[in-house]
């Protein structure tokens, strides 16, 4: 490419970037007056945090047990290293900030979460967790997708459900009320002259000099209407997301990890307005088939740092009362370690719910370490009773509609 072209391109892009930043900053001033979607007045929010790959619950909330020591010679922490929880169990040594939240009564631990007669296929198990239904994806949308479509679909806001950071879990999938999904706020834009792009939305009708709707183009025109609305949504949410990210300042120090960056973006959006009700983020690499100890400890440290900063930041901005964080994983891991010092895919595991509105403490029941289900922890709590607590207890939405009549009653978690 010639020098000339490079120069042209740079000045072109500088112009575009300046425009974007200007719009973004201008937007902040009138941020907090956005209309509130949904019925409830306090704008309640769920942050769904998936530990992708199958978190080892027994290395997260660690029971004191000789039996466990026998089958986990390499992966189990020394009892003295654990952080105190109660007489029967301790926290993973790296979860000190989450433990501090727990001590303040702001963390509910739900032990032994799983579902009856678990399917053998892990791929399927994943789907069960994401849909809250035994039939998995064949049953339709994800549970958050159903919640959003049945509760907020008339809000007119495209970004009621947002996933930040990579691939969205199927939980947020909805065929009628799709989530806004972004890798990172900075990449969430159309890279060109954004003002021209905006003219491709519904505003393009201004260019029509005469009625151009011909019958032979009926199908095309219907489709164009929908796509133009999506373009307008994209523009609106792009400005909001990028603006929030670019203008957010916080004295709270976040660790330099992906999950922390995603949660920081969530904090920025929470502080900006009340439009988004569900934020989905994911913390990956929990699939610890080999040499689990070091890897899992690292994950725990990352999770602890990210969540600790996030919760502190929300308290600072006054968003902590309307926000709960649900930490889940698509399955637990086997009780006994395998030949590679790791743990293969298992079944039940703990879920955590964090926030000021949460009824802190232990919920559910600890699964037996001796009476196993084919080498796995047998579940003691149907995970859907936690979903039901979110849907019914937190959002006051219709549990039957979201989780189906087969869902068990809600746990009292909020």
């Amino acid at each position: 490419m010639s020098h000339l072209v490079e120069h042209d391109r740079r000045s072109f892009l500088r112009g575009a970037a300046a425009t974007a930043a200007g719009i973004a900053l201008g937007h902040t001033a009138r941020a907090s007056h956005s209309p509130l979607p949904g019925g409830d007045a306090d704008g309640r929010v769920l942050v769904l945090l998936q530990l992708s790959g199958g978190n080892d619950g027994l290395a997260t909330i660690v029971p004191g047990s000789d039996e466990l020591r026998r089958v986990r010679p390499r992966t189990l922490h020394d009892e003295g290293d654990l952080l105190p929880l109660d007489d029967d169990r301790g926290w993973n040594p790296h979860l000190d900030r989450i433990r501090a939240e727990y001590e303040e009564g702001r963390v509910a631990i739900v032990e032994g979460c799983g579902y009856p007669d678990p399917v053998r296929s892990h791929f399927r198990s994943y789907e069960v967790w994401h849909t809250g239904r035994r039939a998995g994806r064949a049953s339709g949308d994800g549970w958050i997708g159903r919640l959003a479509a049945s509760t907020w679909s008339d809000s007119g806001s495209p970004d009621v459900v947002m996933h930040i950071g990579g691939d969205a879990p199927y939980s947020v999938h909805s065929s009628t009320f799709p989530p806004v999904t972004l890798g990172s706020p900075t990449g969430y834009r159309w890279f060109g002259d954004e003002e021209s792009y905006a003219k491709g939305g519904a505003a393009i009708a201004d260019y029509a000099t005469r009625a151009t709707r011909e019958p032979r183009h009926a199908g095309r025109d219907r489709a164009l209407d929908l796509l133009r609305a999506t373009l307008d949504d994209a523009r609106a949410s792009s400005q909001r997301v990028r603006g929030a990210s670019a203008s957010y300042r916080t004295p709270v120090e976040y660790p330099r990890t992906r999950i922390a960056a995603s949660l920081r973006d969530v904090a920025a959006l929470l502080a900006r307005d009340r439009r988004t009700r569900i934020f989905s983020v994911a913390h990956s690499s929990y699939d610890t088939h080999a040499s689990q100890r070091g890897t899992h400890d690292k994950r725990m440290r990352e999770l602890d740092g990210a969540l600790g900063s996030f919760l502190a930041d929300l308290r600072r901005t006054g968003q902590s009362k309307r926000t709960v964080v649900l930490v889940f994983s698509e399955f637990g891991r086997r009780v006994a370690e395998n030949g590679s010092g790791g743990h293969d895919h298992g079944k039940a595991g703990p879920m955590l719910l964090l926030g000021e509105a949460v009824r802190g403490g232990l919920h559910g029941a600890p699964p037996s370490l001796t009476e196993l289900d084919d080498g796995d922890l047998a579940y003691t709590t149907d995970f859907r009773s936690v979903y039901a607590a979110i849907v019914g207890g937190w959002f006051r939405a219709d549990v039957d509609l979201v989780l189906g009549p087969e869902a068990p009653p809600a746990l009292e978690l909020v």
Binding site: T186, G192, Y207
Partner: protein, 549 residues
């Protein structure tokens, strides 16, 4: 130039289809064989057509184009499955049986890398075929079948078995569905994907039985739970042998009497297929799936009936089905033409087919994956949801950005520079430290799909091999309006509405001003003209109009 052809003449000339001729009232329905129809057929039966080829197909007529689409092309390459198999066998022989745990772990890690590479090869080989466009109808229908008889590398980490499945689907893509269904019940990748390797006498696994009925043959509501249980028994023993080939394990097969959909006998897998194929719902189910995939709108009961009957009469001849559909005026109705949301592969491959940019197949496959259609990794056993399910705020903008990368307007520096801009605006307000922000920016960069795509394009030394100025000059465009019309025709798969043309004319004038190009200079070969046109092209291919085909 428009040639109107009577359907009856068409059918008589195209192939022997007396049944169809009787059913459709003669001389009342005509096929308007114009540029719009030609492009429509290319969009749906293939992956689009270059604008300068359309007139020749208008002149040649519909039968000629349909014949062209069906023309047999034979690749003489070694099947990928065989190559993959020997690669994996060689690796296994070379490492032997690892002595220690550590070695075993290391061997597994290395094998996984090879498996990933082979899958990458498979994906690229298919994408290359799609981009080259030598066998468009077969590629289109293989993609359809890949979405029906789904198998994902995520759970079946056997590139050789996936390649074999792909070859089976490709070979049978235009043949009889009955043959394909029977072949799939012997396909090791599918059997493993749907857990039939765990379906044994006395402890049945119903996964395959259920999906065969629900997703492959009948559709929900046309079978009972008892039918699923009995069908699962019929499928016991169908599995993968130690050599990787299909094996029917008599010892694991339940040879007792079963009743499936009212038919009683000591059924095995092939009997199950026969029972399903004999059901009238099976033809209706397939007819509906094909119609809705190719037309992009819900199929009316009358249309489903008409085409289901054709399938029944021809022992599920999909080729005959397609030939009839492509010559059916109903396929060209207003509701259908230009109204289907192009899937990610349609979108990326379509842009390449129309523009001839020369994008690397790896990039095209990665871009389609980032947009939601990752070959050999369908999201679930149901395959991909078509239509508006492809479109989110994110994917809509990313589609435009992918085009920007293909036109070389967006590269890694664009994304980084934009991030730096965002970070600077924060630093200006005095907040976190410079280091923090740099780190944050790096994290955001890592999370961003466009950055990854732009990086892979840079690493492949790609440069677009088409000039928009050539297209504009070649058509003799001398005004903004003429240039816009020529580019819209060349770049879009559909006819755009007039308001879109009007908007683009205004934009082109702005761009000419920005780059210091006069309207007269549109006809001249200048770098600045190309720069203005590239930005117009980028906008054009990012618009809602470019998402349809």
């Amino acid at each position: 130039m428009t040639t109107n052809v009577l359907l009856t003449t068409l059918l008589a000339a195209a192939t022997v289809l007396p049944v169809q001729v009787e059913r459709i009232p003669a001389a009342t329905v005509e096929l308007d064989w114009d540029r719009r129809a030609v492009e429509h057929l290319w969009n749906r039966a293939g992956f689009g057509v270059a604008a300068d080829e359309i007139d020749a197909w208008v002149a040649a007529g519909p039968e000629a184009l349909v014949d062209h689409l069906f023309a047999v092309r034979r690749g003489d390459r070694t099947p990928l499955s065989r190559r993959f198999e020997s690669t994996l066998n060689e690796f296994d022989a070379e490492v032997g049986s690892p002595a220690s745990r550590k070695e075993r772990f290391e061997t597994r890690r290395r094998r996984r890398l090879i498996e990933n590479d082979l899958l990458q090869d498979l994906r690229s080989a298919w994408m290359e075929s799609i981009l080259e466009g030598d066998d468009p109808l077969r590629d289109r229908m293989t993609l359809f079948w890949h979405g029906v008889f789904t198998t994902s590398f995520t759970s079946v980490r056997r590139p050789d078995a996936l390649a074999r499945q792909y070859e089976t689907l490709r070979g049978g893509a235009l043949g009889s569905y009955a043959v394909l269904l029977r072949a799939m019940l012997r396909d090791t990748a599918l059997l493993e994907y749907l857990d039939n390797d765990e379906n044994r006498r006395g402890s049945p696994n119903e996964n395959l039985a259920r999906e065969v009925m629900e997703l492959f043959a009948l559709g929900e509501g046309h079978y009972s739970e008892a039918d699923v249980r009995e069908a699962a028994r019929a499928l016991t023993g169908a599995t993968r042998g130690d050599d990787g080939a299909y094996q029917f394990d008599e010892g694991q097969h339940d040879d007792g009497v079963k009743t499936i959909l009212g038919v009683t006998g000591t059924h095995g897998p092939n009997d199950l297929a026969t029972i399903l194929l004999d059901r009238p719902e099976c033809a209706s189910f397939l007819a509906r799936s094909l119609l809705e995939y190719l037309e992009g709108v819900p199929a009316s009961p009358a249309r489903v009936d008409q085409y289901a009957e054709l399938l029944r009469e021809t022992d599920y001849d999909v080729g005959r089905f397609l030939r009839t559909l492509f010559l059916d005026p109903g396929f060209y109705r207003a509701e259908v033409v230009g109204a289907r949301v192009a899937g990610p592969i349609d979108f990326v491959a379509g842009a390449e087919r129309r523009l001839g940019l020369g994008v690397p197949p790896d990039f095209a496959a990665d871009a389609a994956a980032a947009l939601g259609q990752d070959l050999f990794r369908p999201p679930s056993v149901k395959g991909w949801d078509e239509g508006f399910a492809w479109i989110s705020t994110s994917t809509l903008m990313l589609r435009g950005n992918v085009i920007g990368a293909m036109l070389d307007l967006i590269d890694v520096e664009t994304v980084r520079g934009d991030m730096r801009g965002a970070v600077r605006s924060e630093l200006g307000l005095g907040g976190a430290s410079r280091d923090d922000m740099r780190e944050m920016s790096r994290e955001q960069f890592r999370r961003d799909a466009l950055s990854r795509l732009a990086k892979s394009l840079r690493e492949s030394d790609y440069e677009p091999s088409a000039y928009l100025g050539t297209i504009v000059r070649g058509a003799g465009a001398r005004t903004d309006e003429e240039a816009v019309r020529v580019l819209a025709d060349a770049l879009l798969a559909i006819e755009p509405p007039e308001e879109t043309i009007a908007m683009l004319i205004v934009r082109l004038a702005e761009l000419r001003d920005a780059f210091g190009v006069t309207e007269e200079q549109l006809a001249q070969n200048r770098r600045r003209t190309e720069n203005a046109l590239l930005r117009l092209g980028h906008l054009l291919l990012s618009l809602p109009e470019a998402q349809l085909h």
